[in-house]
């Protein structure tokens, strides 16, 4: 009998986590390893190019995308703790390199290998079926009430529709509560938030109100961009819930 080879994942941590929220990256690594995944961290990674691409600076975005293709060229699975960056690499690289057959072939190759963090855990690792503790009906009362915000690109570009919820439902000490109008955008939209703050803020206000009314003590999502936006309002308004990346919730590092 031979032991199965551990799944190997190459982490693309995203620039926002690398520079602003490194603790999220640590939780990602801990959860992946706990799920039996061998994690490596390809050297030299920075930004996938998405902020530039979304602002129309396609030629500048291409430079960063090409770098990213190089860095991730021979990895079996690329795991990204962001639906937004994941969508860039899976979906939008194909548009970005549509007119360059050689780079397009490489982008297509990458798009087959790139997974958002929760999607990878559920679809590739099958982690959901082996939670650390079995979820039971008599889950302790002290469980954290967690509301999940499905970020737009994760939901509609990567089409990850239920992996995060399934992981949360299986996680010990987590009681998932419904977030009203969950699929409404939080109003971040990258540069949108600073180009049209008056509209962005209206959307944010509704999201924050929905989270407050959900009764959750924690609002989670798979994207630090959205969470930076929502969290910015939470800390400004001193609201009674915290904002955490799903990897942190699953890691239970502050649970």
């Amino acid at each position: 009998m031979t032991l199965p080879q551990p799944t190997r994942a190459s982490l693309f941590v995203t620039c926002i986590v690398d520079q602003l929220y490194p603790e999220v990256g640590v939780s990602v690594v801990r959860v992946l390893r706990r799920a039996g995944v061998a994690v490596d961290f390809p050297d030299g990674q920075t930004c996938c190019g998405q902020p530039l691409y979304n602002s129309g600076y396609v030629s500048e975005a291409r430079k960063l995308a090409e770098r990213t293709l190089d860095i991730l060229s021979d990895k079996e699975y690329v795991v990204v703790p962001s639906g937004s960056c994941g969508a860039m690499m899976r979906v939008f690289y194909l548009d970005l390199f549509a007119n360059d057959p050689e780079l397009l072939a490489r982008a297509k190759d990458l798009s087959q290998r790139v997974y958002e963090f929760t999607e990878f855990l559920v679809d590739v690792v099958g982690y959901e079926s082996t939670p650390v503790e079995p979820a039971t009906d008599d889950r302790p009362e002290r469980g954290s009430a967690v509301a999940y915000h499905p970020s737009c690109h994760l939901l509609r570009e990567m089409e990850v529709t239920n992996a995060p919820q399934r992981l949360l439902d299986a996680a010990p000490g987590v009681d998932r509560v419904e977030l009203p109008d969950a699929e409404q955008c939080c109003g971040f939209g990258g540069t949108f938030a600073v180009k049209y703050p008056h509209i962005s803020e209206e959307m944010l206000a509704d999201k924050v109100a929905a989270a407050t009314s959900s009764g959750a003590d924690t609002l989670t999502a798979c994207d630090m961009g959205c969470l930076m936006h929502i969290g910015g309002a939470v800390s400004r308004q001193k609201l009674p819930f915290q904002v955490r990346h799903i990897a942190q919730v699953l890691d239970g590092s502050a649970g």
Binding site: Q19, T46, N54, Y57, G189, I199, A233
Partner: protein, 486 residues
């Protein structure tokens, strides 16, 4: 052409988000229309709905891809049925054509059923300048005509008006007693327009579809005004953007299933009327003349760009407006022209010129709700990205005061992100500058340019003391303090 105030998007949207009545009206319409739309999809099942969307898209793709061919077929068959087809390159020409038809027929009174193209052309003003009385007859259009406003939604033109505002308008303009009873207000409109329908010399309608093989114009309505406008007057003029053509009668079925469900959630509208030429000699009634005016007015520019061509698949259902978080906050008027919302942010720059509508493609979070709602699967976010590219890296004429700053920031960002070493240095400098101003690890309201546009309402994290890359190198790559080995 209708006045273009797309450059005013920022001040107009700033005013709109503060308008509580507007917000309430938008919320009511958004949840109302979208809620019934979703119920209608569940009723037929999402799988069947997807099949319909795919079929509709195939039809549009084929027709628009051979538009010259189908326009020729349409023209031939309208003519064979005794109608006359006129082709207009722009709004001015289209208005001149309708005016000339009116003059030739000694028209004094016109009744109109809803037509977004006529809004686009600004046709009413042209006709009124020739002392022709023009009556909008769709209740929503009637309201905004009385108010001298423009539509704020593709299918519900007066969506932005509350019942109280309509009541006041009717009292002021029609001299009727003030009433907020909606049923009574509808009755007032019925009474006011009843005789106009029967007396009008000319009826003007839009077209939801033009069937090439039979030369038919199809309109889909609920109130009955469309039937009256196309039946009672001596002359009927149909106005249509050139993209409205579909090949066969049999192609109509799927669109009759998709359009009402997507627009209002109705399974079908009260009426579908199909006009093929003028009345036949043996008919009881119907117009003596039928004219079809087919309008380009910038559509060939959208057609010529393969990345934007699919915007011409739009069937003007308004579903994308009802799900759009931006439209839902700012309403239709902020967009500054006839076509608002996500699809308007593509069509409007196409028809009025991107140079004066640069805010429209940018004022979106690219959340993608519009694409999911679109009954013909138009990939709106993709086209918004394409337009952003044209603005950022396109011709000199699109550049303005902010363009150089934008390009500089983009180039700077790309340069830093191209070098992990530079990025590390950048983070350290950023932290050194910002950390002293931060409280609890975040920056509160700040006066730093650009940053202030974020921090006016949201705290901003400052760069971390150690990057994840450093933590990985020091602690995670081998057996580190996490106690977990690779």
């Amino acid at each position: 052409m209708a006045e273009v105030v797309t450059r005013q998007f920022v001040p107009a949207s700033q005013a709109a988000v503060k308008d509580a009545q507007l917000r309430q009206a938008l919320r009511r319409a958004g949840t109302g229309f979208d809620g019934t739309r979703r119920e209608a999809i569940e009723e037929v099942s999402p799988e069947v709905w997807e099949e319909w969307r795919e079929e509709a898209r195939r039809i549009k793709e084929h027709t628009i891809g051979h538009l010259d061919y189908y326009l020729e077929m349409l023209e031939r068959n309208v003519t064979a049925a005794g109608g006359t087809v006129h082709f207009a390159v722009d709004a001015q020409q289209a208005n001149a054509i309708v005016s000339q038809i009116a003059r030739a027929n000694n028209v004094q009174t016109v009744t109109k059923s809803k037509s977004m193209v006529s809004e686009e052309l600004g046709l009413n003003h042209t006709l009124e300048a020739q002392e022709i009385d023009v009556f909008e007859t769709d209740l929503g259009e009637y309201i905004i005509q009385l108010a001298d406003e423009t539509p704020s939604h593709l299918v519900a033109p007066a969506l932005h008006k509350t019942r109280g505002q309509v009541a006041q308008l009717f009292a002021d303009q029609l001299g009727v007693p003030y009433t907020e009873d909606i049923e009574e207000m509808a009755r007032i409109a019925r009474v006011a327009l009843r005789q106009k329908f029967l007396d009008a010399d000319m009826g003007i309608s839009g077209a939801n579809f033009l069937v090439a093989e039979t030369g038919s114009l199809v309109i889909i309505t609920n109130e009955g005004n469309g039937r009256l406008c196309t039946s009672a007057p001596r002359v009927h003029v149909g106005l249509a953007g050139m993209e409205k053509v579909i090949p066969s009668l049999q192609d109509l079925a799927v669109f009759l299933r998709l359009l009402p469900r997507s627009a209002t959630g109705q399974r079908i509208t009260s009426y579908m009327s199909m006009v093929t030429g003028p009345r036949r000699d043996e008919d009881e009634d119907g117009p003596e003349e039928f004219h079809l005016v087919i309008v380009d007015n910038g559509r060939s520019r959208l057609l010529a760009d393969p990345a934007l061509r699919e915007s011409l698949y739009c069937i003007r259902c308004g579903a994308c407006l009802n799900v759009c978080p931006v439209y839902q906050r700012v309403g239709g008027h902020a967009y500054g022209w006839v076509y608002p919302g996500p699809i308007g942010s593509i069509v409007t720059p196409g028809l009025v010129g991107l140079g004066q509508a640069k805010d429209l493609p940018n004022a979106s979070t690219l959340c993608g709700a519009c694409r999911d709602a679109c009954p013909v699967q138009i990939n709106i976010p993709r086209m918004l990205l394409h337009l952003r590219h044209n603005i950022a890296e396109g011709p000199e004429s699109y550049r303005d005061a902010g363009s150089d700053t934008g390009s500089l920031l983009a180039r700077g960002f790309a340069a830093i992100m191209s070098s992990p070493r530079l990025l590390g240095v950048g983070r350290k400098i950023g932290r050194r500058l910002l950390a002293p101003m931060a409280k609890g690890g975040v920056l509160g309201q700040s006066r730093i340019p650009l940053v202030s546009r974020w921090t006016r309402s949201r705290d901003l994290p400052v760069p971390a003391p150690r990057s994840f890359s450093e933590i990985w190198r020091d602690e995670l790559s081998g057996k580190g303090p996490t106690g977990l080995q690779d």
